[in-house]
């Protein structure tokens, strides 16, 4: 039985949710019932008792659990409260979920990123539920004058076996709220879990299918104006002149002006990233359509921007890093040539084991291949937007942001307000994928509201959203493998880089499994801004590496799964080096599971298979794709997937997220790219930027989770990277041609 210290401070228990305390916004659905259908609405209690900042209990036994983290579609709004409910030992049917306010004194890491919400929230969420349960037991023991050890709980009811007494949590809530917070609490045994591991439907499901206001773009306030912002149309340009004479006099327009999002002396953190340090033009008016029309009537001139350098503080360590943005109007064709040139030169050594130079020199066979991938736009379906109301002494902001804690700091610093006078509330978010880590639009909204002295909602058009930058970088990798005369892998070499960062993870597999190993990395400056995109770096390097290993296995005359398992066996039993960033046994475990579940080795007529496996964001994934080519297009019949992410909180949601990661990876590697001509993005909407469509998705996806009792790890990202390798490997089997450059279909509708 695990006993944990309750580590939160007294303040945590006193600070009540700003929203629960009467800040409910009219017409906005903050509450989400866990009831599966709208007919089964819970009766609201007359009175709520705050047990701690994570939960409150009504006198009728209904429990409200706060969901601390930003919800971007990863389902934390359901899964995180499930963990609290488990330890509280309450019936999930009697739970209501509320989006928590931003309060980092109380909640751990209110940030959606790195697939860390569940992993890093796990202990604090369990503790919150267990603490409340303990307080209910103590209150009950006092009321019944029996030892607390004799009070048991089950599904929201307290029992005392010897006296036969029982009481609902609601009856004891008032007394429990007054109990001193225990110094330590006992957590449940994993085998006793009743809610964790069961499939529970999305708590916002009913609100979503009935079109209730949930998202940032749906947010409204009396007197609210709409603002749109015009950034330079190309990377490397800045504003030269504005003629707003027509726009200003158009119907519904209140004001046209310029802003500088971050002052020149503003000290940026990494989530303040933007490619455009200069002035942007803002149009403010009554309605979205009027503002959209007025901005089209602006006559703007642009001029080349000089080289500039931005320095960012790391959000956790504060360490400073600089990025040089050269003065240039860049072209995709030049990018590709420059990256290939870098790939042919020696680069910075990130890891070296043994004597790779000698091994390659003495090899019986050397295989060398190059891989590339383009810039990608995140394209959340809900474009960037934020509500801001800034007055002389405070700033109130509402909207979709993955990093509310850090953007609160940005707004405070930019406006010159104390941090406690800035409040950001989180809405449900129409996708994140890393794009909403970078909250320049939150600061823009605040600056605009301050300037017009009114509540405003800043709205990005799709074109604004797609051409703003903060893209997934463009990458290039060169792989080499050396085989001896017996076709054993004796050396492995990766040299990779990108615009403007390297995707190399030098200590990941196959590091540790090969005697002679070399990892090198390089980077090229670019003024096209980049940001984290679902599984940063892994979203390219996994596919490249797993395609290359497939080719090496083939050259070695081995089955691709067997080949990987032999390497992992070596890494397990006799690892090379000490810093190998994976557990070989769990890695092999998912490969073995997917081999079994997919009936690997059994041929189906006209169905071609590719396999891949990868470890990132603390989780292990192996995938097998079955496809054929129909009318020159890949038809993906099935994807088999094995995942080891430790304990699975909510299987239906975890499976959904796994399916999404797979579809996302297939889509981007087949179809998607941002390209540039003289600094101008060549794609600005979904007519030119290809995203995967319904008929192109796999016809079926089977997801198998490894069952174990390891603390849960991430799921939002790890499913996405390896599928690109499995896809490339299956396409090779189907066409006899290897696919090295993403997107594999590169604007062609048919494989040629």
């Amino acid at each position: 039985m695990a006993i944990v210290k309750t580590t939160y401070g007294r303040r945590s228990f006193l600070k009540t949710s700003a929203l629960a305390g009467g800040g409910m916004v009219l017409g906005f659905s903050w509450l989400a019932s866990c009831q599966p259908t709208p007919e089964e609405v819970l009766a609201m209690p007359k009175e709520w008792f705050n047990i701690n900042g994570f939960l409150k209990i009504g006198e009728n036994g209904v429990v409200t659990i706060m969901s601390p983290n930003p919800e971007i579609g990863q389902n934390v709004k359901t899964s995180m409260p499930m963990i609290v409910a488990e330890e509280l030992d309450v019936d999930w049917k009697n739970v209501i979920v509320e989006q928590a306010p931003l309060n980092t004194d109380l909640y751990v890491r209110q940030l959606a990123g790195g697939s860390q919400s569940i992993r890093q929230g796990w202990q604090s969420l369990r503790m919150a539920g267990a603490t409340a349960r303990q307080m209910l037991r103590e209150a009950t023991a006092q009321a019944w004058k029996v030892p607390v050890e004799e009070i048991t709980t089950e599904a929201g009811v307290l029992h005392h076996k010897n006296s036969g007494k029982s009481a609902g949590y609601g009856e004891m809530a008032a007394a429990a709220a007054k109990v001193t917070v225990p110094k330590e609490v006992t957590l449940k045994e994993i085998k006793d879990f009743k809610i964790i591991g069961t499939s529970q439907k999305n708590v916002d499901g009913v609100n979503i299918v009935t079109g209730k206001p949930l998202f940032g773009l749906d947010y409204k306030r009396d007197g609210m104006l709409i603002a749109m912002i015009v950034h330079p149309p190309a990377f490397g340009l800045k504003l030269k002149s504005v003629d707003d004479s027509t726009a200003r006099s158009m119907p519904g327009i209140k004001d046209v002006f310029t802003i500088q999002t971050f002052n020149d002396d503003y000290k940026k953190h990494m989530f303040d990233a933007t490619a455009f340090p200069g002035l942007a033009v803002v149009v403010v008016g009554n309605t979205t359509w009027e503002v959209m029309n007025a901005r089209k009537a602006l006559k703007l001139e642009w001029e080349p921007m000089g080289e500039f350098s931005d320095t960012y503080a790391h959000f956790m360590t504060g360490a400073l890093s600089s990025r040089k943005m050269p003065a240039a109007l860049e072209n995709t064709s030049e990018h590709m040539a420059k990256m290939a040139e870098m790939g042919a030169k020696l680069a910075k050594v990130a890891r070296k084991d043994g004597d790779p130079e000698a091994a390659f020199k003495n090899a019986a066979q050397v295989i060398e291949r190059n891989y590339s991938a383009p810039f990608l736009a995140h394209n959340t379906m809900e474009p960037m937007n934020f509500f801001a109301h800034v007055t002389a002494d405070k700033a109130e902001l509402v909207g979709p942001i993955q990093t509310p804690e850090y953007m609160e700091k940005s707004v405070a610093a930019r406006l010159g307000l104390p941090l406690e006078k800035v409040d950001i509330q989180m809405t449900r978010q129409g996708g994140g994928f890393g794009r909403r880590l970078y909250g320049h639009f939150v600061v823009e909204a605040a600056v605009i509201s301050q300037k017009v002295n009114a509540p405003i909602k800043l709205v990005y058009s799709r074109e604004d959203d797609m051409t703003f930058g903060n893209y997934r970088p463009a990458y290039y990798a060169t792989y080499r493998a050396a085989l001896d005369a017996n076709k054993n892998l004796i050396a492995f070499h990766v040299r990779a880089g990108g615009l403007p960062e390297s995707p190399v993870a030098a200590n990941r597999f196959p590091a540790g499994a090969v005697d002679n190993y070399l990892a090198e990395e390089w980077a090229l400056d670019s003024n096209i801004s980049i940001g984290a995109f679902r599984a940063p770096r892994s979203n390219f390097i996994a596919g490249a590496e797993q395609s290359f290993l497939d080719e090496v296995a083939e050259a070695a005359g081995k089955d691709p799964i067997e080949f990987r398992l032999e390497l992992l066996d070596r890494a397990l039993k006799n690892p090379v080096g000490a810093d190998n960033d994976y557990e070989a046994a769990r890695y092999a475990g998912v490969l073995e599971l997917v081999r079994t579940k997919s009936n690997w080795g059994q041929q189906q007529p006209n169905v071609h298979r590719g396999v891949s496996a990868y470890f990132c964001h603390n989780s292990y994934v192996a995938q097998v794709i079955d496809l054929s080519i129909e009318n020159g297009k890949p038809l993906i019949h099935k994807v088999h997937c094995a995942v080891d992410c430790g304990i699975v909180i909510n299987p239906i949601a975890a499976t959904n997220l796994a399916e999404g990661g797979i579809v996302d990876g297939i889509g981007h590697s087949l179809f998607s790219a941002m390209s540039f001509k003289d600094g101008f993005p060549e794609q600005n909407n979904f007519d030119k930027y290809r995203l995967i469509r319904n008929g192109e998705a796999p016809k079926a996806i089977e997801v198998h989770f490894v069952k174990n009792e390891i603390d849960p790890t991430g799921l939002g990202e790890p499913l996405n990277p390896p599928i690109m390798g499995a896809l490339a490997n299956a396409l090779y089997k189907a066409t006899g041609k290897r696919f090295y450059d993403q997107p594999f279909l590169a604007g062609k509708e048919v494989l040629g």
């Binding site: 259908t37 579609g73 499901g205 959340t380 379906m381 996708g431 399916e659 990661g661 319904n694």
Partner: protein, 151 residues
Amino acid sequence: MAIFNLNINGKKQQVDVDPATPMLWVLRDHLNLVGTKYGCGIAACGACTIHLGGVAMRSCQLPVSQVGNQAITTIEGLSEKGDHPVQKAWLEHDVAQCGYCQAGQIMNAAAFLQNNPNPSDAEIEAAMNGNICRCGTYVRIKAAIKTAAGG
């Protein structure tokens, strides 16, 4: 500006707007019906799908002046209690991830099933190809449509 009398979700509504205003923004900004979503503004993603006279339409490309007397249904009016077979199937399959595109998906699917109550897989795909789901819930969307058709 001009006055338009609209029939939305069985209710008469009056708006005074520029005749070129797309129904998407009339719904969202003027009538507070924000279930219909803005995704692209060029009829390329399907997030803004509504029914015009029972036919699925991209409201971002439908000027208010072209609506006339035709009945408009939005996600808010698809059913009184959120119990349209498509909505129920969406809940049963727990389709949504971020949820932003789903109103458009549901509206498109509901109109499609009205015309084709027993569609094949290929017909479902063809009908739903115009609706982008960036989260990649396509497998569930298809399964939910089959469930709704079966029910």
